[in-house]
Each structure stands twice: as structure tokens, then as C-alpha cells.
């Protein structure tokens, strides 16, 4: 196991280096300059400002400078979004709200999704099943910004149950954004659990359990549900991606001081160091999620071997 994890970590580092390299050069192709008023300045004036941020060095030099800093944990300073601010500080200051609504959305979505999926499977082809399918389709297909806007308008403005936007009322401020983010994991989990449960419910050992006189709920929870849960772990990764991309718009709509909201702006204004820093941060997060999922998978399902045949 330790060997497996060690190997995975090495792969992680390589992946990260590739992502950083790719993003770096991709970003440099972005049209426009990170200097907001570049079009007003004379070429000489522009050169002076660019020199201040090391933007006038040849591209390979800029790249190696950046990678060298990165290895030492230095993500550089923001060029124009928060002029002069340390990128690490920017990300840390924005992490809290994103983590909170992301976590709440994930938990809420997964729990509700599992429940919905189970009910649908147990009452297959009933109206409950159909409505859960409808919910799942809605959750997958309605873009989160539409859903977020609707929540804001109806539950926030019209009914006044929750704050319309802003990050001022503690937990209450996080409710609507969490629900908006929960839709995708909810739909994914519901679909998955339903399919898996139906498959498991049709398998031989369930028939055996029935024959032995196990009660309906015992079969559903003890036998069927636990086995249906395993494949769900595989979609935790994609779900985390969904939460991340969802946060870009949801945070903007609810005016939440999170990373996603800030990331969008950094791309619009070509703030190279913020774009790089945030991309790397997101990548580390996702790679870790995937690693954890893989390890969990091995622990939960003994049929899956992580490290060759010996263990």
C-alpha cells in the first residue's frame, strides 16, 4: 500500500509539473496585456512597467523563473487584480467560503441523491421513480447559474427566507449557494445509486437473503445499499470537478468572496500569476481527491487490488 501511494505521489508531481507548464504557455497566448492601461502607454513606458513584473524577459526565462519559484512554494505576486499581493495570500484569504459552500453542497447533494436513488430503485417504475429521474435530469441539465439565479430570486428576494446574496450572515449566507452547488452531485448520485441498486437487487445473493426470510428494509440497507455504494465512490472525483466549476458562477451570482469568483476575474484581466496560482491550487485539490478516491476504493472493495498481486 505504502509503495502504491508513494508511486502515486510521484505521478502527482509529474502531472502537476505538466499542468503548470501547459497552463503557463497557454496563458501566454491569451490576447491582451496584464497591464490594464497598456494601450495608453508609449512603448517605452510600457517596457518600464513590464520590467517591474519581469514580463519583458524571454519566455523560457520567465518559465524557468516561475517553475523555480514554484518548487520553493512561491507563487509570485499579483500583477493587476490585487497589485503586489502575494498569490498564496490571495488564495488563502479566498479559500474559506469556497471550501464551506463546496463541502456543504457536496454532502447535501450526495446524501439527498443517495436517498432519492434508493427510493427510486425500491419503487422501480412507480411515480416516485419517474419523479426522481426528472429531478436527476434537471440537476444535470440546468446550468448552475440558472438554478442559482432562480434560488436567489424566489427563496431570497420573493420569500425572504435567506439572504439574497453577499457573505454577511454566517451560515444563512451559505445555504442558497450550497443548494445550487448540490444539484449536480445530487443528480449524479441519484442516477448512480438507482442503477446500482436495481442491479444488486436482482442478484442471486439478494434472492438468497429473501429466501432466508430477511425483511425488506434489512435487504435494502444491509445487503443492497452497501454494495451499491461502492461504485458511487468512483464518481466522487467528477463530482468534485462539478463543484469546482459550479463554484465559478455560483460564487459570482451570490457575490461570495471565494476562489472561483476571483479566478474568473483573473483570466479576464490577464493576471498571469493569479491564473497560474489558482490553476495549480485547483489541480492539487483534484489530484488529491482522485488519489483519496482510489485508496478508498481499494479499502472498501477488496476485489480491487491496488498494488499488484502480492498483498
Amino acid at each position: 500500500m505504502a509503495r502504491y501511494i508513494g508511486k502515486r505521489i510521484i505521478y502527482m508531481v509529474i502531472t502537476l509539473a505538466l499542468i503548470a507548464t501547459f497552463t503557463f504557455f497557454l496563458m501566454k497566448i491569451l490576447p491582451g496585456s496584464p497591464i490594464a492601461s497598456a494601450d495608453k502607454l508609449s512603448p517605452e513606458q510600457r517596457a518600464v512597467v513590464e520590467a517591474r513584473y519581469g514580463l519583458n524577459d524571454p519566455l523560457p526565462v520567465q518559465y524557468f523563473n516561475y517553475m523555480f519559484g514554484l518548487v520553493q512554494g512561491d507563487l509570485g505576486v499579483s500583477i493587476n487584480q490585487f497589485k503586489g499581493a502575494n498569490v498564496t495570500d490571495v488564495i488563502l484569504s479566498r479559500m474559506g467560503p469556497s471550501a464551506q459552500i463546496g463541502f456543504q453542497g457536496m454532502v447535501l447533494g450526495t446524501v439527498l441523491g443517495i436517498l432519492l436513488g434508493m427510493i427510486a430503485a425500491l419503487r422501480q417504475n412507480s411515480w416516485v421513480d419517474y419523479s426522481s429521474t426528472v429531478v436527476a435530469i434537471i440537476g444535470i441539465s440546468i446550468p448552475s447559474f440558472v438554478f442559482a439565479s432562480m434560488l436567489q430570486y424566489f427563496l431570497g428576494l420573493k420569500l425572504g427566507w435567506f439572504p439574497v446574496a453577499l457573505w454577511k450572515d454566517g451560515f444563512m449566507s451559505s445555504v442558497l449557494p450550497s443548494i445550487a452547488l448540490a444539484m449536480f452531485p445530487l443528480a449524479t448520485a441519484a442516477r448512480f445509486i438507482r442503477t446500482e441498486m436495481i442491479e444488486v437487487l436482482g442478484s442471486d445473493y439478494i434472492t438468497l437473503a429473501k429466501a432466508k426470510g430477511a425483511s425488506g428494509s434489512e435487504i435494502a440497507f444491509k445487503h443492497a445499499f452497501r454494495n451499491a455504494l461502492i461504485p458511487l465512490i468512483t464518481v466522487l472525483g467528477p463530482m468534485a470537478v462539478g463543484i469546482l466549476t459550479g463554484s465559478l458562477v455560483v460564487e459570482q451570482i451570490f457575490a461570495i468572496p471565494g476562489i472561483g469568483e476571483q479566478f474568473v476575474k483573473s483570466i479576464m484581466v490577464n493576471d498571469f500569476s493569479i491564473i497560474m496560482g489558482t490553476t495549480i491550487f485547483f489541480s492539487v485539490f483534484l489530484i488529491l481527491v482522485i488519489l483519496i478516491v482510489d485508496i478508498m476504493y481499494g479499502i472498501i472493495d477488496p476485489r480491487i487490488r491496488l498494488s499488484g498481486g502480492k498483498s
Binding site: 491569451l30 490576447p31 491582451g32 497591464i35 490594464a36 492601461s37 497598456a38 494601450d39 495608453k40 502607454l41 508609449s42 517605452e44 513606458q45 518600464v48 512597467v49 520590467a51 517591474r52 513584473y53 493587476n80 487584480q81 490585487f82 497589485k83 503586489g84 499581493a85 495570500d89 490571495v90 484569504s93 419517474y130 426528472v134 435530469i137 434537471i138 441539465s141 440546468i142 446550468p143 447559474f145 440558472v146 439565479s149 432562480m150 436567489q152 431570497g156 428576494l157 425572504g160 439574497v164 446574496a165 453577499l166 457573505w167 454577511k168 458562477v249 459570482q252 451570482i253 451570490f254 457575490a255 461570495i256 468572496p257 469568483e261 476571483q262 476575474k265 479576464m268 484581466v269 490577464n270
Partner: protein, 579 residues
Amino acid sequence: MKNSKLFWLLGLVLVLSIFLAACGGGEETDGGTETPDSSETDTSNTDDGGDDAASTEGGEPDAEQVLNLVEGAEIPSMDSAIAEDSVAFNILNNVNEGLFRLNEENVAEPALAEGEPEVSEDGLTYTFKLRDANWSDGTPITAQDFEFAWKRALDPEVGSPYGPYMMAGTIKGATEVSEGGDPSELGVVAEDEKTLVVTLERPTPYFMSLMAFGTFYPQNEAFVTDKGDDYASNSDNLLYNGPFMLTNWDGTGLTWTMEKNPEYWDAETVQLETINVDVVKETSTALNLYQSGEKDRAGLSGEFAMQYADDPEVVKELEPTLFYLKFNQERNGEETPLANVNIRKAISMAFNKQDLVDVVLANGSLPANYLVPTEFTFSEDGEDFREINGDLTGFDAAQAQEFWATGLEEIGETEVTLELLGGDSELAGKMDAYLKEQLETNLEGLTVNLKAVPFNVRLELDEAQDYDIQNAGWGPDYQDPMTFVDLFVTGASHNLMSYSNEEFDSLVEQAKGELAQDPAARWEAMAEAERILIEEDAAIAPIYQRATMALQKPYVQNIISHPFGGDYSYKWAYISGKE
């Protein structure tokens, strides 16, 4: 299965509802892209501050003086030497102050300067006397604070874009200092604690209005040096000398507060105690916050303007920002059909601007037949610069067709295909489609191909001069017609369309040089240059002068909007009748 039909129906309804939902939710790209304003980058979605004309004179101020605003973007920097965006300049204008300040009538009046400066005969040396005023920590503001701040804005190590941009060519030695020259050569000297002597490169009639601009604010050297890299990194690492103090700003957050500054020399004028600001980037969110009563003002951009046009709480505000078609006369080293003056005249007269502003924009913008905006600059007698020239062109399909026929004959073509480069926002798309339709209908044989690109891409294509016609815009950097007129002199960095007219150039040169001391003749020269540019040469085709709309609660009084520098002043604002 008898359920299957029902299921299909349900599915169909669902699919339809998704499409409808998707259509309704397309507002998120609003931002600054629909306002391709190359001068003021990407800020149109900001709070839009206030409108003096629309706020009816209220009664007695309330006991509670709290204003709640939204802003469209974060503060990139509160360091007045480094600031280059409208959010920062707006806050700087309210928490700090320079020698002069734009007053309620948008005239620069002495602020930290005690009275008008002494100006030498040749118009090159200004001697300012400072009034007794303090920083928010109680230390007195000195002439050295100005000298330090201005030199800092030019220091290449600091890397300020606006320092060199505003000072080079105006203040003596600024160009050299900004390129690493000896700072002591700069024409800014603090003779004693209360006397600042500024030497200019050339007489600058609008120099007082520059003194109201954020880049020219003072900074306390001891404080800046003491804070080092942390200077201006949050609201505690700053000193204030304006009507308000910035508080609760952590440097990267979406929220901050402005509180009345008790140390401000004119504190008795200031009525507001607190201004709460939150960054809200979505127009629809800002509107929801406005409607829930949490915010007192919300900007209406793009299609929201049309939606709320008849709302009694709408305030309109005319900006000195002009949009026009740039005609590129030389592309990839070859002359375009637009090198022919009759072709240019034909195009500039062939689209209906009134319909464009009424129907397509519908936000109170004015059709423009000029370059220098109306209600922007005024002579000493209060006469609008616009009154000299009036309209210089206009929609006239019949005349356009005559010019078109002549032009086609001259270039020996019967059909012309041109590319129209514009922004990628919904509004820009609608506007350019309208222009295409008008031009193709009114000018036979003309084909217009639309090319919609993001703002940054447009700037790159502009720089490469890789377009035929471009829908562009410009907002002023100082309060003088020159900020518009000198865009089009031969070789200017905004020209980028190979326009060149010796007479135009020489008039601009005269206005900048020998006429600088004679305001009336100088205005005449700039007006004549404007006439040549538009009436004679049709080098550009003006389209409209932008107005913006916002919703504002009726109890908000006297927020003053400014044509350049900081967008709004809250110094004179107050709340009346909210309770």
C-alpha cells in the same frame, strides 16, 4: 405501459423548460465588454454612483446617514501612485484629496491648496500654498508629501503605469525620471512645508483639473517607508486625507466601508457617516439586492436598461465617453477603399443614429455627430465646447448615396466588401448587426462582414491595424477637449488607421504650444481641428455618446458624478426621508 405517454409528455415539457431557462439566464457576460472603452478599461458594471440632475432636492437630512452601495469589481490597489482603474480612482477621490478637487459643478476648485496657485508669466511655473490640513493619523500634510508621491509614481522600481502616462510631457523632467533619470531633476520642489513649486514642460491650460486626479495625490513618506511592501495592502496600512476613511478592507475581499474622516479639513460639509460597499459582479444580483432594500443604488447595464427604462427610480447620467467607427485607410500595407474620402463620408452618413440610441441601446445615450462630448468641457464663461461646432455630420441617406457613387467611381469599383470589427457582448452584437443592416441597405454594392471579438483581442487587432472598420470608444483622462482631439494626430498611439492631415496636426500643435496661453484662440484651434477631422475628412464616424442608467432610492441625495478621474463624490451626499 400506460404511463409511457405521460412520461414522454413530461420529458418534452422538461426539455422545453430547459431551453426557456437557458434563454433567460444569459446576462452573466455583461461586464465591461459591451462598452469597448479603450480608455477606461472594463468598468461599466460598477455601482454607477449617482446622478446629481436626477436627485430631486430633498428635505432635511435623516438622523441616520448610511449609504449602501455596490461596486462592480475589487480594488486592485489603493496606492495612489499605482492605481489605474476606475474602482480605485473612485475610492481615492472619496478617501483622499489632492491640491484641487472637482466640485458639485465639476469645476476643479482648491482643496488642499489654499486658493489658486501663483502662475508665472510664461505659464510654466505654478506655486501652490497648502492649507493647514492633517492626515487621518493627525500628522500635518506637507508639500514634501506631494513631492514624494509624484516622484514615487515615476520611479521605474514602483512600475506605475499612470505616473508616466499623466506626467510625461506635462511636468518638466517627468519623461527622463520615468526612464530611470535623476529624480531631483523633476520640476516638483517643496520649497517649505507649505509651498510646492511645480515647473511644467509646456503651458497646460487644464493643469488645475489634473491636480484633482488620483495620481497627483500626496503620500506621507515616513508612513510609506515604514510600511514598506505592506503599504496600501489593506485599509489599516493607508493614511487618509479626504472626506472619508477606508475601513474593513482586507486587500483582496469583496467588501469595504468608508467612514467619515474627522480629521478632514472640510469635515463639516460631509453628512454621510458610513458608506457600506460590496462588490457584486452580476447586474441581476445587484438589482435583487436593490429590490430587497439592502442596497441604495444599482447600475443597469445592457438589456436591463431597457427593462427598467420606465421605472420611477431610474437615474440617467450622460458620460463624456464617445463611441465611433474608426476607418482604417491602410491594412497590411495596402490601401483600403476607406482611403477614399467620399467612401468614408458615405459610410458615416448612412446609418440612423437616432434609431440606434432609441431602440438598440435604449439607455439614454445621445446620437453623436461630433468628437468632443457634450457637457464635458466649459470655457471660463461657462460655454460648452460643443457650442462652437455643433453637429459636424449626420444621418442623410440621399447624400450618403451621392458620396458613395462618387467614391466608387474614384476607386473604380462597383462592389466593396468591408469588415466591421466590434465587441462580443450581446449589446455590441446587436449594435453592429444594426449598423450592418443600415449600411448595406443605404449603400448599394456594400457588403459588411461582422467580426465580434473580446475586448483584449480587439485591442491586439487595433494595434496590428488589422481591420477595416472598428467600433471603438474613448473616455477622457483630463477635462479638456485635447484628450479627444490629440488621439488622431499623425502617428498617435490611438490613430492606428493611417489617418494623416497636416493642417489638423498643425492646429493641434498650435493648441498645445503657442496658443496655450490664449484660451479663446486655443479652443478655436481645437474646434477647427475637430471640424477637419469629421466634416472635411470623415476620418471617423461618430456614433453615440454614452449614457448609463441606474436605479437609486429616492432618499439618496446629491451624489455627484464626475466626467473624469474618480467617477463619484459622496462628500456632499446625504440621506433624506428614509425613515
